[in-house]
């Protein structure tokens, strides 16, 4: 198989003496959809946030397209990347947050245009055309001039997806994108994500939506206590989990209704 788009080796993250990630090895190939599941506190979100260095790992390394993120080797030693170098790498990695984090002082259109204009140096006309196209794609053409506080949670999250896509990322990170939504709004966001998956986007998704994970993921990773407990194709993880811990988690999730 070809070089993975994301290669994670020995990743550790500690807050004080508390080890949140205890050594994670994981590969994500181009076009792959990977779902991270597990109980809260298992480290899934921290793992995701390490991939674009919003969280600085304590140990291990992450390669994006073969290049280490966060550190650069200079004279045989590894140094922290400069703010500008790190920003350049992050520009190619889209991220969607649980709480949307739209920019409240900008319109929907401006939210989507900000990255292309300020980071990619796109002209306003070009950036606006791209932004309008993406907003049409997520079904929000009529909301371009609105401010985020006028939108429902589901609409805000779709704008957030468009904002990330405007940077033409080679990888998209989703951090529990539907967890802050009212139940009736979950579907519209998952539909956009499903469409994105069908178009071949590489996606790492932290989610509690097991049905979604089962139907969209190429690979499901179950984490607990900062370790990967089990990973494999969704059919196997959901229908025939090999580890007791996975079984216990899945049956608890299924019976929560």
């Amino acid at each position: 198989m070809s070089e993975p788009l994301v290669r994670i080796r020995g990743l550790k993250k500690a807050y004080g003496i508390h080890l949140v990630l205890q050594g994670i090895d994981l590969d994500v190939h181009s076009g792959e959809k990977l779902c991270l599941i597990g109980p809260s506190g298992s480290g899934k979100t921290t793992l995701l946030r390490c991939v674009n260095w919003l969280e600085e790992p304590t140990g291990g390394e992450i390669l994006i397209d073969g290049a280490p993120i966060g550190t650069v080797a200079k004279g045989g030693r590894s140094h922290r990347m400069s703010d500008v170098e790190l920003a350049r790498m992050r520009a190619g990695i889209g991220m969607v947050f649980q709480r949307f984090n739209l920019f409240p002082h900008l319109t929907v259109l401006e939210n989507v245009m900000l990255g292309p204009v300020r980071v990619l140096g796109a002209g306003r006309a070009e950036a606006e055309a791209t932004a309008r196209g993406l907003l049409a794609k997520v079904g929000l053409s009529e909301k371009v001039a609105a401010y985020p506080d006028r939108l429902s949670g589901g609409q805000q999250q779709r704008v957030a997806i468009a904002r990330a896509l405007a940077m033409k990322p080679k990888l998209m990170l989703f951090d529990e994108p539907t967890s802050a939504l009212d139940p009736e709004l979950v579907g519209e966001v998952l539909a956009v994500m499903r469409q994105l998956a069908n178009e071949g986007m590489t996606m790492i998704i932290v989610t509690h939506e097991m049905r979604f994970a089962e139907t969209v993921a190429d690979k499901v990773v179950f984490m607990a206590d900062g370790l990967i407990v089990e990973e494999g194709p969704p059919a196997r993880i959901f229908r025939d989990p090999q580890v007791e811990r996975t079984r216990a988690f899945l049956s608890a999730v299924e019976h929560r209704v």
């Binding site: 500008v84 889209g94 401006e110 306003r124």
Partner: protein, 225 residues
């Protein structure tokens, strides 16, 4: 002038004109002090929020000194105190410096808390689309912090406008100083101080209105993209 003399319209006009000349000095002093306070206060807030312990320490010491000494004392120290060391500042400059340095300590706290009040997720979302820390601060944090900071800045400006009457103690010819001189000249203290009250009101009400307008301008509106 005799006690109980009739107050002529000409006399009232003379009083008003003199007070309005003083109002010019009051406005000038308020505006200049506000500029010093905003610029220096913003710098101090950035120092407090920086990673450097040294800068943080300097800003803290500054804050405690200027916040905890009465403004009148600060004016005396700057105007009379410095002159002993050969630094003779014109009264208006000394007063501007006094109010500005004092105001910077208060506004630095306003700016600092406004910046800290912006949700952490805003910076993260900015970094995630590839902005540098600096860009995220300028394009995302500052505009949102400004919205929070404008009402307290407006309140401070109105307070400052009234406090500039203290500058009469170091002989700045602003409203209060003019009033004192007019009272000594005409003994019409009631008329004069009524007029003073009206002049101050006429200055501070538009300032309150201006604050409200500025606040509206910064609430969801305007572009940064």
């Amino acid at each position: 002038m005799m006690d109980g003399a009739v107050v002529t319209p000409e006399m009232l006009l003379y009083l008003l004109r003199t007070l309005l000349i003083g109002a010019g000095a009051t406005i000038w002093l308020t505006a200049a002090s506000l500029v010093v306070a905003v610029v220096l206060g913003f710098g101090l807030a950035l120092m407090r929020l920086s990673d450097s312990k040294v800068l943080q320490g300097i800003a803290r010491v500054y804050l405690e000194i200027f916040r905890n000494i009465p403004i009148l004392t600060q004016l005396f120290v700057i105007y009379f105190g410095l002159s002993r060391y050969g630094i003779m500042l014109p009264a208006t400059v000394a007063a501007t410096l006094g109010f500005g340095l004092n105001g910077a300590s208060m506004l630095s706290e306003v700016f600092r808390s406004a910046i800290l009040s912006v949700d952490r997720g805003q910076r993260e979302a900015g970094l995630a689309i590839g902005l540098t820390s600096r860009q995220a601060f300028r394009l995302l944090i500052l505009p949102q912090a400004a919205r929070t900071a404008i009402p307290p800045i407006g309140n401070y400006a109105i307070g400052l406008l009234k406090d500039t009457s203290l500058a009469s103690a170091v002989a700045v010819p602003e409203i209060a100083m003019r009033a004192k001189m007019l009272v000594a000249e005409t003994y019409l203290s009631t008329e004069i101080y009524m007029m003073v009250a009206v002049v101050y009101l006429a200055l501070s009400l538009p300032l309150a209105r201006l604050t409200a307008l500025a606040e509206r301008r910064f609430s969801p509106h305007r572009s940064a993209a």
